[in-house]
């Protein structure tokens, strides 16, 4: 298997911007999503996901060329479908998920939202920057994860759903002791 690819999965050569109304709705969607995650309303968060969601965080590797060549096409910190994301949420509800007992305090800062038309009707692509602040217990320190997210959103009968997310972390070595949180 090849170690890396030169393609970012959701990149398109030319991004066609969407109308202002759609842009606002997508922005509201991403901000609502961040609120649900920070409020630990994970069941409600799952409701925002399309049944065929593809949720990935590729491993980043330091390479001479840099840029998109840094992302592995074979290795991931997350490589999730709806079923496995559901398991991750179900685990948090067992009372025995020690990584989140007591829970992490997170704050998802979402910015630099760029929305463009998708490949199919009713689909849009959204790029956003994410800064995730995380603390546990009474530790005086915090973890910060910075990433760009490439999302595909789809408009269905019950509103917008997240159909694809690729999380492009700005680190080769992840500086939090576990990824028991969602990005």
């Amino acid at each position: 298997m090849s170690a890396a690819t030169d393609q970012r999965p959701t990149d398109r050569p030319t991004a066609v911007p969407v109308d202002e109304g759609t842009r606002r709705l997508v922005r509201d969607f991403l901000l609502l999503e961040a609120e649900l995650l920070d409020d630990r309303r994970f069941r409600d968060w799952l409701d925002l996901l399309a049944p065929d969601i593809n949720y990935r965080m590729p491993v980043r590797v330091t390479r001479t060329k840099g840029g998109s060549a840094e992302f592995s096409s074979d290795s991931y910190h997350f490589i999730e479908n709806r079923q496995r994301l559901g398991l991750r949420v179900e685990r948090l509800e067992t009372g025995a998920a020690w990584a989140e007992e007591p829970p992490s305090r997170t704050r998802h800062f979402v910015s630099n939202i760029r929305v463009s038309v998708g490949a199919s009707a009713g689909e849009v692509q959204a790029k956003s920057n994410l800064l995730l602040y995380r603390t546990r217990g009474n530790a005086p320190t915090h973890d910060l994860l910075s990433a760009e997210r490439h999302d595909l959103l789809r408009l269905g009968e019950d509103g917008w759903k997240l159909a694809r997310r690729t999380i492009l972390l700005d680190q080769a070595t992840v500086t939090t002791h576990n990824l028991s949180v969602f990005l």
């Binding site: 490589i79 398991l87 685990r91 067992t94 009372g95 025995a96 992840v174 939090t176 002791h177 576990n178």
Partner: protein, 437 residues
Amino acid sequence: MQQLAAEEAGEVLVAAARANFRDGLLPAKIFNDPALHAMELERVFGRAWIFLAHETEIPKPGDYVLRNIAEDEFIVVRDAGGTVRVLFNSCRHHGMKVCTASMGNTAYFTCPYHGWAYKNTGELSAVPHEKEIYGEGELDRKTAGLLPAPRSESFRGWIFASLDQNAPSLLEYLGDFTWYLDFYTNKSPAGLEVIGVPQRWIVHANWKLGSANFIGDGYHTSTTHLSTVKIGVIVGPAHFLLDGAQVTAGAGGLGFRKMAADAGAGRGYPEHIIARFDAAHREIWKRGYFPGHGTIFPNLSFLSAASVEARDKPPVPYFTLRVWQPIAPDAIEVWSWCLIEKDASEPVKRASYESYVLSFGSSGLLEQDDTENWTSITSAAGSRLSRNQQLNYRMGTKLLKPMPDWPGPGEAYSMDYTEANERAFYDMWLRYMERRS
């Protein structure tokens, strides 16, 4: 003066550990002490064989990856002739790192400082303006190649190195443990390959906790990993490792899960795989023992297990290797690989990788809780009272005797809820710290 005092403090702690260890106890302080850490870098990581890479990570001439033995960074490269070289990443002129990418392919490593270029064999190849600037005898090219690791050897494609020129051979070091590695490496004539690249992440924990957990802590699973049994990712009961087995042999140890009697020889492996193993290996499978977690001293751990994604789907097996790279008394960088038989189909490889990510690695549902334990222990161990607090490693000393009829080498016990392997690990650690090994 300060360094001497620190070394003395380290020696006092090692002596206290040895004294208490005779009674099955260890001072908590060994998991977070700067003086002890400095000693470990010299006496353990300066002498033992350390895993660096798998040969399938560098299949073609010129392929390289950057890897560490604690603070020492090495370029692990397949040279133009196909030989694997382990080269210290530091220019022989003024010490700059000649390789800055974590992986790639190159014929030359060129120092960004003054432009000295080295072939991928390590040989010094070009020095800008050499004739104009160096007089006779000032620069001997023959001895100015990149420093090779004092020792480097491979076993079944697993590349190890040692900083100790006088280390025993890798095979001698691994000893009888190679017999147990067969369970993991010998299932296919094609051998194993690494899927992609390793995940890397920082855990504020002492490196020994990862090694000891994987070599022989079957006991923690029913509490630490209870959530994964509850949601069905692990096939229960929660105490699934209670009646397993634990074996110490050579430089390593491993734990077995006891499968239901109807799991069959080789736990459902097809006949062509079972046929690759000798009678003794097959006898272990026949008794229902499935080889799972293990560690090779000091910091290479591995696990063969399976995750269940949905109750109506079969468990999907995966195999992971991981290195607990010490970066501070209270911090490790975890490097975690997923490997699979090279001749497996692409869909099988993909499914296995997804199963691995669900359970282990940076986001793994089991590993999440392991790192929680180790950071907590390390934090408590940084205190003053941790010098006086003796932790209990006695489990199994009274109740278990080695199984007399175990088909493989080493010492085997009929439960995975014992600390026999952890005691073997800490005994080896003490021998290195006392310079007796």
